[in-house]
Assembly symmetry: C2
Homo-oligomer: 205 residues x 2
DNA sequence: ATGTATACGTACCGATCGGTAACATTGTCA
DNA sequence: TGACAATGTTACCGATCGGTACGTATACAT
């Protein structure tokens, strides 16, 4: 359970004299550093230095580094489903096109130098302990992804929707990982094509 | 560049010169700890303690912790291709059955509590820097995996072998990751089935 | 002006990080 | 027996780790 700390990140920012709160600056910097270089690789000292604040400020807004990491992932979660819902909204009532749009987007994102994959996936690799605050957020995100993909497989009329949903999840996770492993020209660019082949093979009765 | 250290791990053990035993114990312990809990999470002190040796012994056999991590992955690499070649040898001249055997095995391995995925993949996530010694080994392993899968896709007579090979790689990486994310009952158990569907859809002319 | 609450900074903590210097001990072979 | 190589022992290094005690500055209400 969170304390009453760090739950105020949604407010103001547009008020008359509202200088960017320390907590927001800290979270923004932590987001960037944790994602790009890994959570374990980044110390709190570097975060506060880059954020232009001091360490006690960090610990007034976040109870610990682990909880800051969890907050980073909660923010990541929000933006993740925003992107997902964009792909869904772009093709109302057409789950196959929704998947294709989402995967095409992922495939494109992987084709940049220094692509770092999915922050959720990476955090789970960094923290094998299931009770770690960051991992809890990560696992919840992935459970939700699985739930949605299976739902879309049902809507597509798949012969075995659970298998197709899981197959799509495997392809997605594979794209995240191989995107950061291979960089440009890697297998991740083929994720949408393979997903479409898999869907096609899973539909027909 | 490695020095002339730590390149002697393949020899003797029964030979007249009964050489470094400390190095082997260290590497064995490091292998287990690095794989199960992550490289960054394990300090050299814990390694030497569990191995029943002292720190100078470690640094006599390995130039640095990073190089010890690389040695761990080189060992992992050896065993990885052993498992791969076993699946291949079990079905001579039948690449589709070889893939199926390999993936079935992966799917089964993922269905245990506290499954930790692929050591190569995990190391790459832990070390985004492409020049890190551990990552160099990891990337080479994955390049080789891609090469072999594409070759097998050719041998299967795929319409677009590169796409199929990459699709299989995505499924495999997805299984490694989702295996450790979801634990028992997760999507990774469906990896062989989905691969077979994908192959089927990629063959017919 | 004064009290009060909140936000922030200086300086510091003990623990652990990866790594090393210097020396003692052991086992093996010549 | 002597020489050598491998390992162990003890003590230490500077840097960084996550985290905190405590004093100070600012804002606002009375």
């Amino acid at each position: 359970m969170p304390t009453d700390k760090n739950i105020d990140l949604t407010i103001s920012e547009g008020h008359a004299f509202a200088p960017p709160k320390a907590a927001k600056k800290i979270l923004d910097v932590a987001y960037d550093l944790f994602y790009r270089r890994g959570i374990r690789a980044i110390g709190v000292d570097e975060i506060v230095k880059r954020a232009g604040v001091t360490k006690p400020s960090l610990y007034r807004s976040f109870p610990s580094k682990d909880e800051l990491a969890a907050s980073y992932l909660r923010q990541y979660d929000l933006e993740y489903w925003e992107r997902f819902d964009e792909a869904v909204a772009a093709h109302p009532g057409d789950p196959r096109a929704q998947i294709k749009a989402f995967l095409t987007r992922i495939g494109k994102r992987t084709q940049v130098a220094d692509y770092r994959g999915c922050g959720m996936t990476n955090a789970a690799v960094e923290y094998p302990d299931h009770s770690h605050p960051a991992r809890v957020v990560s696992e919840a995100n992935k459970q939700e992804l699985r739930r949605r993909l299976r739902g879309m497989a049902v809507a597509m009329g798949a012969q075995d929707p659970d298998t197709l949903g899981d197959g799509l999840l495997l392809l997605i996770e594979g794209a995240y990982i191989s995107g950061q492993l291979f960089g440009l020209g890697g297998p991740a660019q083929a994720v949408a094509r393979n997903a479409d082949l898999l869907i096609e093979a899973s539909l027909k009765k």
